[in-house]
Subunit: 234 residues, 2 copies
């Protein structure tokens, strides 16, 4: 792609200028290209992975390598957990395994099915509600699934991948299809792939995919001494 066209292309798709060099021609292809970015605009300096992490609705038609996938779950594996219980489990389906992928997709609520089928990999996140060692309730079970998921997501970010997590699944469907044990709770789905072209999305989703969602000011959620009283840090 030559200079001017390349520049227009990159600005339009939020790519760093120059990234289009390797892009296969055809407006909707974003193959072998620097990932589309949507950096956080922060008040204070934070590390690059957290700045870059965002949740696209659009995914490019590009496979995720097994090597990358292994590292994503390895990252989840090393998250902290209460009593080192590691209560998380994941069910994975790659798009290449069409039947299995469709089964995971069918576990999402209707709204999420509209866009998540474009991802290259779908994952279900499940957590064990009781400790394995004594069968007592693990109050951290759902929290610790969140820790593992964040670890997976930031590893994905480090590899130029994008992830969109969903709470919108049908837990009883997951339980039935995959024979999930009674003391384990299907909680989330995780769409993984390369961020794609928002123009491929249904109109209702397009706007959501072209802006980073704002955050509350720090004063509204970091307190000191009493609920609602902002910490003097901010």
């Amino acid at each position: 792609m030559d200079g001017f066209l390349s520049q227009i292309f990159c600005v339009f798709f939020g790519l760093p200028v120059g990234a289009a060099d390797k892009v296969a021609l055809g407006v909707h292809s974003v193959i072998a290209c620097t990932p589309r970015t949507m950096n956080a605009v922060t008040d204070y300096s934070i590390n690059d992975l957290i700045v870059k992490r965002w949740s696209p609705y659009s995914f490019a038609n590009r496979s995720v390598s097994d090597e990358d996938l292994r590292s994503l779950f390895e990252a989840a594996r090393w998250a902290a957990s209460s009593y080192n219980e590691q209560p998380w489990s994941f069910i994975v389906a790659k798009k290449e395994e069409a039947e299995e992928f469709a089964r995971v997709l069918s576990c999402l609520v209707e709204f999420n099915q509209k866009w998540a089928g474009a991802a290259s990999v779908l994952v279900l996140g499940i957590t064990r509600l009781n400790f394995q060692r004594n069968n007592k309730p693990n109050r951290a079970a759902v929290h610790d699934l969140g820790l593992a998921a964040c670890s997976l997501v930031l590893e994905a970010t480090a590899r130029g991948l994008s992830v969109h997590q969903m709470i919108g699944i049908v837990p009883e469907r997951v339980r039935e299809i995959y024979s999930v044990p009674a003391d384990c709770e299907p909680m989330t789905a995780i769409a993984i792939g390369y961020a794609g072209d928002p123009n491929d999305l249904p109109e209702e989703l397009r706007a959501r995919d072209t802006s980073r969602r704002p955050r509350k000011p720090l004063k509204e959620f970091v307190f000191r001494g009493k609920w609602g009283v902002a910490s003097s840090l901010f």
Copy 2:
């Protein structure tokens, strides 16, 4: 500290060899020193922050700067959340604010009070169980507190700080002391500081602080097609 002694010191405290150069003499001082490390031994390559993150029980007598603290909460702020609800809130106390620090410490279960008082900063993690926009239950509330906490912890790791998260708090005490609203749930405490010398710990904790806790094999929690059937990735 000269070569041989330095090497012994570093190996003993899990520091990179050479890190003791800046250590103030006196066996228990780990001031202005490269942070003590306890790297994960991984089966697959993952990014350095996740490799380095671990949860010490020992903390050095060294303040955390306000600049670092601001960035930790900024990192939490940019976590993903269901409907962008950002259900997390934090109550922060620095050790320098002795009365406030003691109040947060008093919200931990007895076991955690034995070691967490050595941290430089204590934080309580609270999540809003209902969506602010429609007051309906947010099924992701606790999960998303976990996402924000992981983001905070990895930012801390990037800054050479260590964090130890706890589920062992007395939620009703937090609610009472800090006037936490009925639809918000106190969930966790987070101890932040520089990893210290395990010899300063009570004996029962010392062993825990000198080894990285093992993880389940990936085959035991990454499935395909059916619960308990390992993904072919591993």
